[in-house]
């Protein structure tokens, strides 16, 4: 009898929690996954990975789990799902993973191939085409869904032919071009909510001296390296900055409201001073885009 009661109670508790929480889905590749840093498997148990675990039984935490922790600390209730596959673009997620994604979500954050198109770097046509399809699919399930584009950062792995068009250009150019590509995708899908300026926040971190924009000559005193070893993917600091911008954009909470002794920062080895600097960068970037931010 007691056993039956306990099961009934727990089912009740689960459904009650699910009803109040806002659902959010992160779609992306290694940049959303947190590849190349400890962010990858961070608090994976707090989010739903829609893809199966890896050979070691591990599922993905990544940006979704960092976002989840931020919202928890802000007293917000989000039910976070992630569907990420390394090296893939919107076309893959739509054609191969559509069945997993085709549900009613409150928010969706979509991150594409890092140079918009693997074969035609900088060309947004594929992103535009498949974001229209994804947007349509999500709105059919929930007319009030907010579909966001996450515009990612400049890569500095100049030996890679994938980013040949940006070789020799200022480091902030690729992020600007990626952002502009997503602005086109947003215009082509007027129901989408907006473009999250993650890559532009990285630009700001370099411009303000918080981070070092050229790891080939070492890392300047007191500066962060936003990239991991391959100068392509993020370091813990890079992913945390990305998640701070996403957090501010989606929730309307000021990244600075998380405070210097924020848990993700402590868990992943950032000092209070480093976290404060990243929160300030995210705050400033969102303000520059006219995002209204509240402290609570």
């Amino acid at each position: 009898m007691r056993k039956i009661f306990c099961i009934a109670a727990s089912v009740l508790a689960l459904s009650a929690g699910a009803a109040s929480a806002r659902t959010i889905l992160f779609i992306g590749n290694s940049f959303t996954l947190g590849s190349g840093s400890a962010a990858k498997n961070y608090q994976a148990d707090t989010v739903h990975d829609l893809n199966p675990p890896d050979a070691r039984g591990k599922t993905i935490g990544g940006e979704g789990a960092i976002f989840k922790e931020f919202t928890k600390e802000a007293g917000l209730d989000y039910d976070v799902s992630v569907e990420v596959v390394g090296g893939k673009n919107f076309d893959f997620h739509y054609t191969e993973k559509g069945q997993l994604l085709d549900r009613a979500w409150d928010e969706v954050v979509m991150q594409s191939y890092s140079q918009l198109n693997k074969d035609k770097p900088g060309d947004p046509s594929l992103v535009i085409e498949y974001s229209q399809k994804l947007d349509k699919m999500f709105h059919a399930r929930n007319p009030n869904v907010k579909v966001w584009f996450q515009a990612t950062w400049s890569r500095a792995d100049y030996s890679s032919p994938e980013i040949a068009p940006w070789k020799g250009k200022p480091i902030d150019q690729m992020a600007k071009d990626v952002y502009a590509g997503f602005e086109k995708a947003r215009s082509a899908s007027p129901d989408t909510a907006g473009v999250i300026p993650v890559g532009l926040a990285w630009n700001r971190a370099w411009a303000t001296g918080v981070a070092d924009s050229d790891p080939t000559d070492g890392i300047g005193a007191g500066k962060l390296n936003l990239w991991t070893y391959d100068s392509q993917h993020g370091s813990n600091a890079g992913y945390i900055l990305a998640a701070l911008v996403v957090f501010g954009q989606i929730t309307g909470r000021d990244p600075l409201s998380l405070g210097d002794r924020e848990h993700v920062a402590m868990d992943l080895g950032l000092s209070p001073a480093q976290m404060h600097a990243l929160e300030q960068v995210a705050h400033d970037e969102l303000m520059a885009h006219g995002v209204k931010l509240a402290m609570n």
Partner: protein, 279 residues
Amino acid sequence: MSALTCGARADTILFVGNSFTSGELASAKFYHAWDVKDLNPPNERNQTIGGIPAIFKEFTREAGLFYHVTLETEGGKGLDYHYTQKLPLLDKAWDAVVLQSYSTLDENKQGNPELLTDYTRKFDAAFHARNPNVKIYLNATWSRADKTYQTGEPWYGKPITSMAQDVAAGYEVARKASPGIAGVIQTGLAWNRAFATGFADPNPYDGIGPGQINLWADDSYHASDFGYYLEALMIFGKVTGRDPLSLGHRERVGRDFGFTRKQITALQQIAHDELAAQK
């Protein structure tokens, strides 16, 4: 026969230390916390420590060894604290114990090994009373950049290798005074070797050289994931007798922390060389 092999009992190992064992200021701190037993209560977020013990546990699993790993860590404390405040938790029969004390040997008398020596003896007696075959190791930690490059600090103006050498010498004093101690794990000397080979930057205050890594965290005091990884490799090599290089360049902790294969191999080579030099 196979049932006997499968039933081979696990070795128990206890880690006692402070933030240098718990992996403070790095993602090592809560790494695989579920994989080890923390004798202290969880924090206000219900987290327990993974740290160096959890890295050690993963290394042993990959090596096909079976250890039950237990830890008792308290930030900013020396062996004196653990003995006087935590002994009831620790006073059991262990197969192996790794003890790590205050980073300057003594918080009040920096560089002085007397307190360490005193409490090493006490722990030695307590653990041997429970298990005469226990192997007790002392983990001699690294030079603090903040104690070396900042004016007014005891190692100011000395080479960066100096503090680790002094700490190593202090632990050797403690070992000699306690004949039951199995050996000193020369973690700090492995760090010195990483500076000497150019793998790690010896001075974080003027930035990090191209292609180099920083063994310290942002406070130039605690370790980064790289620093803790090297520490765990040294402990693994000393305690298990396995070559750190045997873990291979696809070693999982290194991959989880986001290291390249080259970095993993370089760290294993440094640990290998330092352990070989100690023989």
